[in-house]
Symmetry: C2
Subunit: 256 residues, 2 copies
């Protein structure tokens, strides 16, 4: 399908996912995409076909999210940012806008994505992190976890780390970054790669917790990676700890 509109605009967003059923438009639930399309109608005077960089699960946040659309509207990028923000609710903001080549597509042009999973490693709540982390009281050894899970780096079949429900047959992905960082009681797990299967980040985190509890050994982890046996993996960690952290495009995809 040909896109209407000569300008192709790439929007960068930040949103708190708590009140939304993910990015993707759905008939019976409120999505970030729907709210953004409505705001766009208010500004541009008509609906736009918005392409998001990825589906996100219900309740998942985005520190950076990218979406593009084509338009013939002449509004300057800086003005569009302010106008959209005036139409958006407090939990969604447009942080940047730039013109990109006609063929750029927020999803298909993606080179890599990085997710952050935030754990509050404490028996005590933190009001300021409520809804933005998963609280886990047992002491985590961030160095040990990073070392143990470095075996996931590289190109592997990650089907053992995905939930059923996606009709994808290609479950091979390349993980290029895995870091576990602690600052006080906050443990952040960063995963970077060319693509992620359904629930993959949350299942890797759930498996980390299982390893941390001594219920799964480093050897079991290798077996899980080799056999793809989902039953060996940990449970899916809660959505609220997850945030899309960064989206990477190749320079040439952005150059006009």
């Amino acid at each position: 399908m040909a896109e209407e509109g000569k300008r192709n605009l790439l929007l960068t967003l930040r949103f708190i996912g708590t009140n939304y059923h993910g990015w993707q438009y759905q008939e019976n639930a409120l999505s970030v995409q729907e709210v953004l399309i409505r705001a766009g109608e208010g500004v541009l005077g008509g609906p736009a076909r918005l392409h998001g960089c990825s589906r996100t699960d219900s309740g998942v946040h985005a520190l950076t999210y990218c979406a593009n659309f084509h338009t013939d509207h002449p509004i300057p990028c800086q003005k569009l940012i302010l106008a959209l923000n005036a139409h958006l609710p407090p939990d969604i903001a447009v942080t940047d806008c730039r013109e990109v080549p006609e063929e750029f597509h927020a999803r298909y042009s993606t080179q890599e994505k990085e997710y952050r999973y935030r754990i509050l490693n404490s028996s005590i709540r933190d009001p300021f992190l409520e809804g933005f982390c998963y609280r886990y009281p047992h002491r985590l050894d961030e160095q040990l976890l990073e070392e143990t899970f470095s075996c996931l780096l590289g190109t592997h079949d990650f089907r053992g780390f995905s939930s059923v429900g996606w009709e994808t047959t290609d479950t091979v992905r390349t993980l290029t970054g895995l870091r576990v960082e602690r600052r006080g009681d906050v443990v952040d797990i960063f995963l970077k790669g060319d693509g992620f299967l359904y629930n993959m980040v949350r299942i890797i985190v759930g498996t980390m917790l299982r390893v941390s509890e001594g219920k799964l050994s480093a050897q079991d982890l290798l077996t899980l990676l080799e056999t793809g046996d989902r039953s060996l993996a940990g449970p899916t960690a809660p959505a609220q700890g997850l945030a899309l952290y960064q989206v990477y495009y190749p320079e040439e995809a952005l150059m006009r």
Copy 2:
């Protein structure tokens, strides 16, 4: 008045002030103190006389807040933390509890307090900072502000930097710390001292913005400090940017 109860317990709290009319109990509005007293009744079986380290304004947050009370209840400190948190709403948490000498008083034993005022220095909203900062679009020079306002350090009569409404006649305070730090678009102003007048931090911040806008010179600032003429100072910056950051007690006040 003699305090009932042989144990004197010092609680450390964190709270989001948005939904409360400050710390102090009031007849017709919900306060943090009232919510904490109710939680304490649920745990200890009766009301406690809670002494807070300071009044805080409506909507002001606390990264650290201290309060003490006397009790005969034998509950161990660690258990009390968990029990209180189970009775408290998500926006208030007890983060620590320790036994202190009988005569310790969260307010009168205070040596110093430190406040943080957070500014989002951007024309663009950030959903994750919504309600936790004051958004100010004009570029702030954090080094220049820190230098210009360093004249406030030391012991001065700060009546020019306070709102009417407090029946205090002693308006001399000692400011021991003043820092302006930037990380990306976030500018944090830290003020530390032996005590603060009503709205003093927020008026100093409002005056910083006025200086930044070129509407008040460094010389005007000195005049304001010397004459105590409130009309020279800037407006009171909004409550949502302010948080009580740290409370300092002398070691001997805490030692049993």
